[in-house]
Symmetry: C3
Subunit: 213 residues, 3 copies
Amino acid sequence: MPFDPFAFLNAVGLVAFAFVGALKATDAGLDVFGVTVLGVVTALGGGTLRDVLVADVPASLQSVGDVTVALSGVALAVAVVQTTDVRLRDSPVVLVPDALGLAAFAATGALVGTDAGVSPFGVVALATLTAVGGGSISDILLSRVPVVLRDDFYATPAVLGGVAFWSVSLAGASVELATGLCAALVFVVRILALRYRWRLPTPAPRENRAGES
Amino acid sequence: MPFDPFAFLNAVGLVAFAFVGALKATDAGLDVFGVTVLGVVTALGGGTLRDVLVADVPASLQSVGDVTVALSGVALAVAVVQTTDVRLRDSPVVLVPDALGLAAFAATGALVGTDAGVSPFGVVALATLTAVGGGSISDILLSRVPVVLRDDFYATPAVLGGVAFWSVSLAGASVELATGLCAALVFVVRILALRYRWRLPTPAPRENRAGES
Amino acid sequence: MPFDPFAFLNAVGLVAFAFVGALKATDAGLDVFGVTVLGVVTALGGGTLRDVLVADVPASLQSVGDVTVALSGVALAVAVVQTTDVRLRDSPVVLVPDALGLAAFAATGALVGTDAGVSPFGVVALATLTAVGGGSISDILLSRVPVVLRDDFYATPAVLGGVAFWSVSLAGASVELATGLCAALVFVVRILALRYRWRLPTPAPRENRAGES
């Protein structure tokens, strides 16, 4: 079997996302079942949402491969939490694989959307939802506002990747090229955003009305 | 192209829903990405949920029309928030277009449900979910109990509209008539509910058990 | 019409789930509409999620039978809340029917997954989501972390039931036998968990990092 760089990126992303999701769950004091669910949902949620939106049975339910990879990320998180006080979450050891996952997932979202014949907006929306959907669902399960909606430059690389995929496809690029460019752009923008602490502006109201619902 | 009153109502609703959703997001202090997502989700979420439930690829992902209209509502909200202290949310300038959107969305939900051959309950459920789904998803994203579940006479007009659509269809009315009646009923009931501050009764427990989960 | 034990279990579960969901909603102070929605969502949500995941129009929208049964559970809850101070929720009068529902729903999830040709993981995931999905969606609507993710031995029986269904199917058992074994196992494990207060371990971090998000 030849080396498939895309499948490799995807697996790295699954492990990183499951690791981050399981850490969030241990921080929230969930039991072993809850930690496993949060890790698996963080890893598989985005792709599952993507497939539901194009009216397919989710790929995540059609094999045991992805969930197995995700479970290894959960096991790693539990092992780390039980044996060390090191905070890995904000370290490059986690952030770089997480950025690879973001890149791989955004690219599969754009690809599936294109195959399903959705509009340019649909391509961008599916790229973004595939990349950030798992983390967002796990935030909702923890009764939190998804981090991507707050002050993080996390979803924006996926949006840009979706736009890039669609643009170069329109310009005649092959699917392989569009996928590769999309993933590369998402990864680079995400790493730059982390490195230089990029922030999107907040259109705050002139008087603060928070809490009025 | 002849004037299509239904498409017009739908566009008015998209702008109003996106405007209200974006305002909620600025109040909650989200950044530009979060504000855009909340506005777009509030506008497109109900129809997307409707299409997922009848196992279709969402219409919202199949064109750029709806999202473009929704983005204009988001832009309007950001402009208003940045330039004025006027609170538009509880003013007729927002509430009337919002009621038009509620009416248009309930009617499309009933219509899509009927086409998909669902049961009378399915027609009413889809009318209601299409009308209130976008606002509810955006409330969940903000980690709030959806307003429609609390003390507002907001979903009830959509329920009544769904019942009306199904009843007159059963009685032999054309799809056009059923759609028009449904939308008109939803709009009138919603406006009356606002005007006369209608409230549904609350079956409160004799002792207050809130907080016990 | 011959007696169908499975349909009977399913109806018992729908009533119990709707009853529990409606109680949660009255405790949270929702109005009549909110109480009805919470009850119906708790009863029908798991099956609806199951059908969406295998890309079918939900059975819950295709007949009026399930919703009618669920509404009877809601009516019962409202009547009990209005007329008595007795707390039924933790009594066997509610917990045993609830366990029957858990068993019936897990079995239908495994069955639908098997029919849809999903992987062993898909069978287990669908059994679990069908059983606990309705309660989890209603918790999310109330802006709470789903109870199943915290310290309750509630989802685990459904997971075991899904594993059992898949294992005996692989060993050549008929669908009827697999369904019956799955349901029986879920029910027995759930009742034992209640009786002996089983708990899953919590992989708490060595220092408590809760709240850091």
